[in-house]
């Protein structure tokens, strides 16, 4: 079964998820051909074990992102029974457009695949899991970190093809991201500090970690009431905001009932507190009994490795 893998890039290189896409393709008995839009990451893709070949697709349209143009260009370069891409914003768009061009169905955000093709994915924001079978030809996008990555040591052939398509989206102006951090009410990951942080200046550690993982920074009522530098807008709890992120990291927060009311429905809760009897541990999925001074630098280091 020929599988077309749309390489996912990060900056000028390959995103680690690409190796997972290749691994997943192999797991359903597919022979993966990796397409690199604009040629980005082609050499690296060729070194992924199990890749049959890499096609570096270069053309004018790859200067800026135009999902439809990229899809059209990539689509003309190879056939394949199955298209696999990452369930990233660009991956979803390119795969969906290629599927529409080919008139084939697409299922997005899969967390497991099996021959058949059987696709498992979360639905209703993870409140249920769906397993379905999809006929080939088809397109599937995969959730990051749900599949084992193929190893290194491959040496696939890289060919370069010139292929472009008409660009319909013209970029007029780039606006750099304002350094505003995400609001707690909207973020999928939140790291919050409590009175245990010792002082508002120490929230800078939380800010750094938040920037690393695209998280928002929250605070307990105790922190907001004690330190005027911590604004009410950051407060999570009964009289603050109620949040339901995928991950909530509570640092130096004891876990009084009013705070729990604001975050207990988070999907996963990590608690870092030096007091082993702190009530927060009763709701934490992963509790770390340690001082923030010791734990946060370690956390920064580990997250940096991802």
């Amino acid at each position: 079964m020929d599988v077309t893998v749309i390489a996912e890039t990060s900056g000028d290189g390959l995103h680690p998820v690409t190796a997972q896409l290749v691994g997943a393709a192999a797991s359903i008995g597919g022979t993966p051909t990796v397409l690199c839009a604009g040629g980005t990451g082609a050499a690296e893709a060729a070194s992924i074990s199990g890749v049959a070949k890499v096609i570096s697709v270069v053309g004018d349209c790859f200067g800026t992102f135009d999902g439809a143009a990229w899809a059209e260009a990539l689509n003309s370069v190879t056939g394949g029974d199955v298209i696999i891409a990452a369930a990233s914003p660009s991956g979803r768009e390119i795969a969906a457009t290629m599927a529409a061009i080919r008139g084939i169905p697409i299922v997005q955000d899969a967390t497991d695949l099996a021959p058949g093709i059987s696709v498992t994915r979360p639905i209703y924001s993870g409140k249920a899991i769906e397993t379905s079978t999809i006929t080939t030809p088809c397109a599937i996008t995969l959730r990051a970190n749900a599949f084992d990555a193929a190893g290194k040591g491959g040496s696939a052939e890289v060919s370069t093809v010139n292929q472009s398509a008409d660009v319909a989206v013209a970029v007029r102006e780039a606006i750099a991201k304002a350094s505003e951090r995400l609001d707690v009410a909207e973020a999928d990951i939140i790291i919050s500090g409590g009175r245990g942080m010792g002082g508002p200046a120490n929230f800078s550690h939380l800010n750094e970690i938040a920037d690393m993982i695209g998280a928002a920074v929250g605070a307990s009522r105790a922190a907001v009431d004690t330190w005027e530098e911590i604004p009410h807008g950051m407060q999570v709890g009964q009289t603050g905001k109620t949040v339901t992120p995928s991950l909530y990291i509570a640092v130096g927060i004891s876990g009084a009932i009013q705070h729990l009311a604001g975050m207990r429905t988070s999907k996963y809760i990590v608690a870092i507190n030096k007091d082993p009897d702190a009530p927060i541990f009763s709701v934490a999925d992963y509790g770390i009994v340690a001082t923030w001074e010791a734990a946060l630098p370690a956390l920064k280091e580990e997250l940096g490795k991802l």
Binding site: A68, E186, L247, K267, G287, A298, E302
Partner: protein, 253 residues
Amino acid sequence: MGIAVLLKQVPDTTAKISVSGGRVDESAVSKWSMSPYDEYALESALQLKESGGGDLVAITCGPARAAKMLTDAAAVGADSLLHILVEDLNALDSTQVQTILAAAVAHSGSDIVFCGKQAADTNAGSTGPGVAHLMDASCVTMVSEVASDGSSLTAMRASPNGNERVAVSAPCVFAFDKGINELRRPNVRGIMMAKKKVAEVLGPADLGVDVSASSVSIVSHTPPPQKPPGQKFEGADSVAAVVGKLRDEANVI
């Protein structure tokens, strides 16, 4: 301007989802709502209509209960409503849904389409780009804002370094991420006027779309795996292990 907004009714994001007999029990869903990203799309579409004139049609493909969502769209300003009645959306694959919606847009005569980037039930994101292709329209995704500068339409979309303003012309599809404006509240006048806006109800066959053979068949729905009981670790040395578990066990980073 002929503006169409594609709306999907989904279980409210706060509603409990229960599984019974291997399927999500829709009858047990306590509250149904407009999919959140669709709300941002609708608000932006209303603002575009208000600034440039034209007609706004709210379109949904779904079961009878979705009619209420169309009435809510009318209450905030949609001029007309189009309901493609499909009792079980789960029985259709992405190609069929997109074909129906593209045909519905054509039926309405609109050439500017707004939709949410992904629906809160499937979290897929195929509809915008797929419908755009079928309409032979340009497509901009991850949009937060749309404006008209007379001759073309501009949109603010996310980029790796922040945002960028892009320009397209009709026919085009805008797939919305979180927009800069929340959906406006209705008022009593809007609610009363909404009563008078009767939706046009069609079936897929009326649009010439065959929905007999889907390429995707659901095998089962299951509740999410039980989380393992809370684990407690001693000392900062355990941070590495916890981060690994967050990545591999919990899959949240």
